[in-house]
């Protein structure tokens, strides 16, 4: 089959909402876009464990501790589902991990902010996981089969994450003056970075148009951001916290909230590696990778030895 007829067949599938599966023909740029997006997504899950792990040993109760442990374990699992999905496109785990460790690959900038109080764990679950869910639900319908299936699993697990975060915020907001102030302070610091999670505005997003045409992306950055604001503002109000945006106002005509301009300079600065924790996060990943090297090698040596013993035994028998 000629390249043009294969392309025609591919585009027809996209049009008819038929999923593209691993070994089928696809345009190189489609494959490249997917590898980039899925691996960045996987890296975000892995690096995202770091700010939360900071509080596991200092969680205020056993209930909070087991929940946080389970959540961080989920994030590791989500990273794995996504790496596996990316591997079906012909890239290797090693390539992806190397790109993360060298700083070549990107991950969500939100994880380059520090978790300085316990309330930050509440804010992350509520806002960061809330924004992630908003982003991920439409991705369950993305055009590449393995990615869509990974997203279905992830979305199922993610809803507990947001609820545990909101419960932490609710508890703090009903507590002492200090606790309430702690919750408000966390919201103040995490609100804007959470809005930035949806990426640049549609007019400045260089990959968006093509990704929408290929149905890799199903909703635009600005549309998702608006949905998130509309869903989250009433939740803040319900627990007596104030969104740190003087321009936030209900727009009767649009049936949505108008909100203030995002500080795009800060956004690009963190993307470029100058956020508060970029270096710390990469150092932590590199340290863990190096310190785990002997474990990976020992497991492989053990597997080889067992296989050799087994084959020797079979020869004798």
């Amino acid at each position: 089959m000629s390249e043009s007829s294969m392309l025609e067949k591919f585009e027809d599938k996209i049009k008819r909402e038929v999923k593209i599966e691993p070994r089928e023909w696809m345009p190189d740029a489609y494959r490249k876009t997917l590898v980039r997006q899925i691996s960045q997504h996987a890296h975000s899950e892995i690096v995202g464990m770091l700010p939360e792990a900071n509080w596991i040993t200092r969680a205020p109760s056993m209930r909070r501790k087991v929940a946080l442990l389970a959540k961080v374990q989920d994030e590791a699992g989500h990273g794995l589902y996504l790496y596996s999905a990316a591997e079906t496109l012909g890239t290797s785990r090693k390539e992806m991990v190397d790109d993360l460790l060298s700083g070549k690959a990107k991950y969500s900038s939100i994880f380059n902010y520090p978790t300085i109080t316990w309330a930050d764990i509440g804010a992350i679950g509520w806002l960061v996981d809330g924004a992630a869910i908003m982003n991920q639900v439409p991705l369950c319908r993305t055009s590449y089969g393995p990615y869509a299936r990974a997203m279905v699993r992830i979305c199922k697990e993610e809803s507990f994450h947001q609820r545990q975060g909101y419960e932490i915020m609710l508890t703090l907001a009903q507590g002492s003056e200090e606790q309430k102030a702690m919750a408000q302070d966390a919201l103040d610091r995490w609100w804007w970075p959470s809005l930035m999670m949806f990426g640049p505005s549609d007019k400045d997003s260089k990959h968006s148009a093509q990704s929408m045409a290929w149905k890799i992306k199903r909703k635009s950055n600005d549309e998702l951001r608006q949905n998130f604001v509309d869903a989250t503002v009433p939740q803040a109000r319900l627990i007596g916290l104030t969104i740190p945006d003087p321009d936030l106002k209900w727009n009767e005509e649009r049936g949505s909230y108008d909100f203030g301009e995002i500080d795009w300079e800060e956004f690009w600065n963190v993307v470029k590696g100058n956020g508060p924790c970029n270096k710390q996060r990469l150092d932590a990943r590199n340290k863990a990778h190096e310190e785990g090297r002997w474990v990976r090698e020992a497991a492989l040596a053990f597997a080889e030895k067992q296989a050799k013993r087994k084959s020797e035994k079979e020869q004798v028998a």
Partner: protein
């Protein structure tokens, strides 16, 4: 970062409950079969998703070629006589 060897890739199949067949759920890396089962348990059955796990090293899976889709599967399209609705029965026969 000169890893000597990467752990091989395994495909994971889970039986969600008795009476159902094992279904492919994804893949993972592990040094050997025992570790593949352990990792599959931790990764794919954290919320009672399964009661039995199969793992098979990915390199042993032989798959049909997507390019052969038409020659393999289209011939079934025009064999409507393989389906019960092809046969015309009197209305009096309610269930058959």
């Amino acid at each position: 970062m000169n890893e000597k060897n990467d752990w091989p890739l395994w495909e994971v199949f889970i039986r969600s409950r008795s009476g159902l067949n094992h279904k492919h759920v994804g893949s993972l890396h592990a040094a050997d079969a025992d570790m593949a089962i352990e990792n599959a348990r931790d990764v794919y059955t954290r919320r009672n998703e399964g009661i039995s796990i199969w793992v098979v090293e990915s390199k042993y899976v032989i798959a049909s070629n997507p390019g052969d889709e038409e020659s393999l599967f289209d011939p079934a399209d025009n064999k409507i006589y393989r389906h019960p609705t092809f046969y015309e029965l009197p209305d009096e026969v309610k269930h058959m």
